[in-house]
Every structure is written in C-alpha cells, then in structure tokens.
Symmetry: D2
Subunit: 133 residues, 4 copies
Amino acid sequence: MDFDLPFRMQHGFDALYGLELTEVQEGRIAARVTVRDELKQPAGLVHGGVYASIAESIASLGTQLGVAPRGLVATGLSNQTSFLRPITEGTIHAAAVAKHRGRTTWVWEVEITDDQGRLCVLTRMTVAAREPR
Amino acid sequence: MDFDLPFRMQHGFDALYGLELTEVQEGRIAARVTVRDELKQPAGLVHGGVYASIAESIASLGTQLGVAPRGLVATGLSNQTSFLRPITEGTIHAAAVAKHRGRTTWVWEVEITDDQGRLCVLTRMTVAAREPR
Amino acid sequence: MDFDLPFRMQHGFDALYGLELTEVQEGRIAARVTVRDELKQPAGLVHGGVYASIAESIASLGTQLGVAPRGLVATGLSNQTSFLRPITEGTIHAAAVAKHRGRTTWVWEVEITDDQGRLCVLTRMTVAAREPR
Amino acid sequence: MDFDLPFRMQHGFDALYGLELTEVQEGRIAARVTVRDELKQPAGLVHGGVYASIAESIASLGTQLGVAPRGLVATGLSNQTSFLRPITEGTIHAAAVAKHRGRTTWVWEVEITDDQGRLCVLTRMTVAAREPR
C-alpha cells in the first residue's frame, strides 16, 4: 500500500469512527482510535461496536494484502469479540496477528489495549479469501 | 422508557451511525439503520462493525430494561457476529430476541435482514447483569 | 441416508459418547444423548464438550447431506457454544436448523434442551462446503 | 492439586476421551490426548468436539484453581472453537493461557497443535467465577 504511517482512513465507516493505521506488516496490522463522546454508549464507555469495527477493519485489510497477489478478495465471515475491561478516555490501541493463513480462510487474533497497556478486548476474526464476483 | 417509536438515538455512537429503535418489548427489541456511504467498508458493502454495533446496542438495551428493576446494570460480555450476505443499499433491519434471562447473564440472538427480508447477519450477544460499581 | 430412525451412531466419537439421530430432514437435524456418569465433568454436570460434540455432528451431517449432490464435502469451520443451564440427568435433546445455506459456507443454530424442554445450550456452527481433496 | 504430572484423568468424560494433564501452572494449563479411532468423525479426522472438550476442561480447571481460594466455583459460559487444520494421528497437544482474570469471568485462549507443532485449533473459553449454589 502506498501511504505513510500513521495513516488516517479517509472514507466510509473507518473515517467516521476515526481509524488510524499505525503498522502494516505481513501478518500483523496495528491501529488506533482516539476516544471521543461520539464513540460511547449510554453509560459513558466506548461502545462495544467500536472495538468490533476496528478488529474487523484491520483483520480484513491484513487478509486483503495477503491474498491480493493471488487475485482473491477478503470477505469477513465472523467476528467474535469479548469485552474484558472498559475504556472511557484516551486512545484505543489495536493489534491484529494472523494465526492461520489457509487457502480459503484466514484467522486473526486482535488484542485491544488502553493507554496503560491493559488488555481490554479480544477479537477473533475469520476472513474468507474468495474469487472476486 | 419514555419515548415514541420509531425513536432515533440522540447521543454517542448510536447517533453517529444512525440507530433508530422501532420496537421495544420485554425480551424483544427491533431497530433499523439507513444505509449510507459513511457506513461502508472499502469494497462498498456495509461495514461488518455496523452490524455488530446494532446488535450490541439493542441486546444491551433489552437487558438493561429487564434487569433495572432489580437495581442491576447491563454490561456486554461478548458479541459473536456471523456475516452471511452483504447489504449495499436501503435499510438494515435488526431484531433481537432474548433466548436466556439468567441471574447473572442474558443471551440474545439478533437477526439482521435486508429490505427483501433475506437473513444477512446473525449475532449472539451475551450481556452480564451486575451490581453497579 | 439409508437407515431407520432413531439411529444410534455406530462408529467413532459419536458412538463413544452415544449420539442417536431422531430426525433427519433437509435443513433440520435432531438427535439425543442419554446422560450417564461417563459424560460428566468433575462437578457432576454434563461436560460442555458433549454439547459441542453433538452440535458439531448434527450440523456437519446436515451440511454434508445438503452439499453432497454437488460433489462437495462438509468441513467444520467454527463451533460457538454458550452454556445457559446445566443438565445432570435424563436425556440431552438437540435440534439443528440451517439459517444460511451459502455457496461456500452453511450456518446452523443448534438448540439443546433438557427433559423439561428448557433451553440449556446454544451453538452456532459454521460449516464449509468444499471440493474434496 | 495433589498429583504427579503427566496425570491421566480418572473420571467422567475426560477419562472417556483420554485427557492427560502435562502442565499445571497459575494461568497456564497444558494437556494432551492420544488420537485413536474412537475420537474420529466419519471422514477419519479427529472430531471437532474432542478439541472443544479438551479446551473446556483445561480452561475450567485453570479457573477453578485460581478462584477456589476465594471460595468460588468455575462454570463455563462459552466455548468458541475455530478449526484450522485437521489431525488424523499421533497426539493432540493443547495449551491454555489466561488472558483475563476478572472478578466474575476469566477468559482463556487455547491453542491446539499436532505432533509437528502446527496450529490446528483455536478456542476462546469464557469461564464464570461464582458463589457455589
């Protein structure tokens, strides 16, 4: 990909919630999102959907980068997010690591931490690699 | 809750992506979101995180309404979303049904359909009912 | 399939834990297992792995029956089991319903109940339909 | 716990499928199971339920050991197993690591490998820590 890091996403939902890529490597993608009131649920915590969105984006991007050379496209199959500890301020830090790069599916584990480095969210993303329609 | 349906969420992340409640019953909550470019991922489909967010919000709200009379608060534990069919336009329709209302956890199945009524996304939400901190 | 129902599985792990098919229809499979001490965990409840095994078997069988006419084979991708209520005696009743029958993956919801008809376990099974190796 | 390692489980379902503990530490439990025909599904691979069972047992045991000093008991809430690569012979090796040790829930990641050290299965286990009934 042809951009400098950190890279703030410019389009679509990633731009809306504020995804910023900080590391893009083969099998490892990291990103961050600055907490703001617009990302919270009614109790004042970051909304669980924000974490799921970040994990979805970076695991899909990582798969897309990996399978594009074979002419395939990445499509999310499932997103399993566990909420361990709330975040209420500062920055959301996410790192996705590819645990399996199969012929038809890739599986990523995404860890999300707060500014103190505490593990707050775990996501397992399964992404299909398919022929483009 | 004291509002008329349909009710467009006014604050936080739910307002940002555009959640509108259409039905609020004991053990059943329905909602919808109008598709717009700001909700899409790079390939032009609705971003998977939008579906996860909708499911998270309505299952949490449903649990909150159910456990508030006991003085408890609802906190999401996990969100397991499977993507079956993409949505690219029109309206996202979601309906959450409580499958289990336990002493400490509630489990919801959320089905998301498109304007043609086709099942597009399944989410299982597990929500804890806890003493407020 | 050429057998009479109920059909007690004769081989492999399904025979070991005692799976008995009670209904085999397009998109719906039901089965049961008789509780015995050999199926329990240390606290005296049916072991969570027994439920996961039942769901795995019947969703895979249902997919296999559905995709075999196209020359494909069914392979489990993921098994997401939530434990709602313990079973300690009697019979474990399971019913799997196909929620999605896609070109490359099928998704099933499996509900497991006790002799009183109470919902005890929910499993979502994702099964791939692939060319045989 | 008062036993020598490796320790072959003597009772219930763990004995039936053949669970053998190989390492028991605070926040980390490892175990193995020898593959035999009785553990296979119809296509000749180890049955997915066997992996789910192993993960369930060792994550529950690890939680039980951790919360017993507080007078609590461990109860499985959910088991999310992803199948990456089949095992057909040799030994199934499993290692569970506690990613979160909360007041009310523990979350474990379990990795299952074959004799060649290849990652074959990933399980995330969520275990509740509760007052005994």
